[in-house]
Symmetry: C2
Subunit: 405 residues, 2 copies
């Protein structure tokens, strides 16, 4: 169940409540990334203490290891992972198309995707890896980056996979195009994604062969269309009208922050108002206000966890709201990361100590840094919700910009 509560008078920003079988999520909400069934370095109890409301795991990664059968056998991803709160699973479309070949072989998003009629590349002298992804109307073949085994994802198969995982919110399989794809390819891919969405919805409406891990699971459609306004609008109308519980904006979000905001401006106003809207994967904390203003209810963001592991920590009163602990200026700095922060790490540890742990690569660092960044983002989103309720979102953003935007 999803209900909207307060509407910002100056923008599409709104507060709401997304109710799942594992608890309610106050929106706008930050969704913590737990790719393989764990937020890196942070166990479920600590997430609860941080105020994290909801996590998103990845079907592609969990399919490869440990496999959805194993997860189902152990009672579904909630029981398996020990996280008892609301949970999403991404369909893995992004990973199959981009992360697989792209990340493993050092090629960009474009090179990792080759259309139907293109023959498999011959192994080059310098790069002997076989193609990792082959796309057909039926679905997508790909090679595991773990052991080279061949796997097939279809819209129906991914519904089956996600039912076995049993998250509260599942996403349909889509094709994630690259900002460098041309219009013709982007349009063809979008139309296939639309056909896949219909197939996924049909599969989701059929009773499963085995009892699902989570009978209360709901399904989100994904809007595609790259950076082409007419395609985005067409996709928003079509996916928005298909009867999904919720709607996600996926795929290429343009080449800049401005283009991402444009994509949201083209699509969100065309989506049904009564459905929750998810933005798949925003990169930067600076995007947060812009995204909320454009009507996004939930967004997943790997930045706080990924940046923490790299030594970059959020500080309200710092340039771009962040510091990098590797900087020598923190060598003897006895202050907590952010004096205004109430997180576990800031209560007990100095910048100097955390810098020492960071530079020596201590495991403790990754955890302590991640705890801080997660708590920082959770509190910022809480502030944003409060500001929408009382109508002071503009003032809150101005304050943040003044402090270090």
């Amino acid at each position: 169940m999803f209900e909207t509560l307060h509407q910002d008078p100056h923008s599409l920003a709104r507060t709401g409540r997304l109710v799942t079988a594992h608890g309610a999520v106050e929106t706008p909400a930050f969704v913590a990334v737990a790719t393989r069934g764990t937020v890196k370095g942070v166990e479920p109890q600590a997430l609860e203490e941080l105020g994290v409301e909801i996590v998103i795991s990845n079907s592609y990664h969990l399919h490869l290891r440990p496999g959805e059968e194993t997860v189902a056998h152990l009672g579904g991803l909630h029981r398996f992972s020990g996280w008892n709160g609301p949970m999403m699973t991404d369909s893995g479309g992004f990973q199959v198309f981009s992360l697989g070949a792209g990340k493993e072989h050092g090629v960009g998003k474009v090179a990792s995707i080759f259309p139907d009629d293109e023959p498999p590349r011959a192994p080059s002298a310098r790069r002997t890896a076989r193609p990792l992804v082959r796309l057909t109307e039926d679905g997508v073949w790909f090679r595991s980056t773990v052991d080279g085994s061949v796997h097939f994802f279809s819209p129906e198969g991914v519904i089956d996979l996600e039912r076995k995982l049993g998250a509260d919110i599942a996403f349909v399989l889509d094709e994630c195009t690259s900002p460098l794809h041309n219009r013709a390819y982007t349009e063809a891919a979008m139309e296939r994604t639309h056909r896949w969405a219909e197939r996924a919805l049909r599969a989701f409406s059929r009773p499963p062969e085995e009892p699902p891990s989570n009978p209360a699971q709901v399904l989100y459609g994904i809007v595609q269309g790259g950076a082409y306004p007419d395609l985005r609008r067409a996709s928003a109308r079509l996916i928005g009208g298909m009867g999904f519980f919720g709607l996600a904006i996926g795929g290429s979000l343009g080449r800049s922050r401005d283009e991402m905001q444009q994509v949201l401006e083209w699509t969100v106003p065309l989506l049904p108002e009564d459905r929750p809207r998810h933005l798949l994967g925003i990169g930067q904390i600076q995007d947060l206000f812009a995204v909320v203003r454009r009507g996004i209810d939930t967004f997943d963001c790997a930045a706080p966890t990924r940046m923490a592991r790299n030594g970059t920590l959020f500080v309200r009163e710092a340039r771009a709201h962040r510091i990098n602990l590797r900087n020598a200026s923190f060598r003897e700095d006895p202050r907590p990361i952010d004096p205004a922060c109430d997180c576990f790490t800031c209560q007990r540890h100095s910048r100097a100590y955390l810098r020492h742990l960071c530079l020596t690569g201590e495991l403790s660092f990754y955890r302590l840094a991640t705890l801080h960044n997660l708590r920082f983002l959770v509190r910022l989103v809480e502030e944003i919700r409060g500001a929408i309720v009382v109508g002071t979102l503009d003032e809150l953003e101005s304050d943040w910009l003044a402090d270090g935007g």
Copy 2:
């Protein structure tokens, strides 16, 4: 202050209380290894919750990074690390002599030590690293394995270093010989270690130039002598008679568990009964009963943390009291690691989930596994203390052996 409380009638095992400025330690006690000022992956608050009583950090590692001046500037190692309980610092002798060259260059303990009169090795064609360690009567020169810079440790300098770190218990600089050293070298090294012990004690008795981080710090001497009974006995008598607050058994503990037990049998009975006795670095949980029986009050042991990171977890009712989670038999095992364990990890997570985290190299694994192994060892040592008090140490050991020794 140290007091003995109960004496086992059948062995040298005893219980006691070691009081420091940061709290009391009930002995026998396990000392958790926090080499660089953190137990790998486990923050101080979690250590307290696990019942860890005391930690040992390493002067060599902290001297290289972040440097004792930085630690002192930030109020000493307790404040720097956030651990407010009892704390030891090892002198770094073992690291300078063995870990430096040995670990970094893949040579054993012997090759990393070369006596005074041996010329520096010429760089070989295959291994261009310069010698890492040069020993003189005055002290030891060594190269940092971090940045190649040259450092010098003398008995007096290490006292100064440890005063800056400010642990409750400091150890003197010693030379740690190898089991492969011959008698002549072992004897000469032991005699130099004795001279160093006198110099360290003298330096420790002088008022420091700057206020120390911990005015209540006490100093332990270290007994050497390799696997030679007459040398060990001579060292125990001499070091034991020098007026140190406590005494440690260091250096080569022989080539087998039996030899280690012999070393303790030669030395411990000659040490003054009213002083606490520390065993530096035992490797295996199986050694625990043997060590306690031979009169050891405290021992540091990297096994629980190191083994955890490798996927080896302690289980009372398993062969050698351990399982390796990588084993395929745990793939769908819904049980906690050890059904009898009360640790955080066992309360919330299955073997199957932890195996998944282990195989995918998730940061969360190292923490969850380490929490379990530490708690397991803490509880076992608690059981041992209780058994000494009521006179049932034999029965407890038999029970453990029956369960999986």
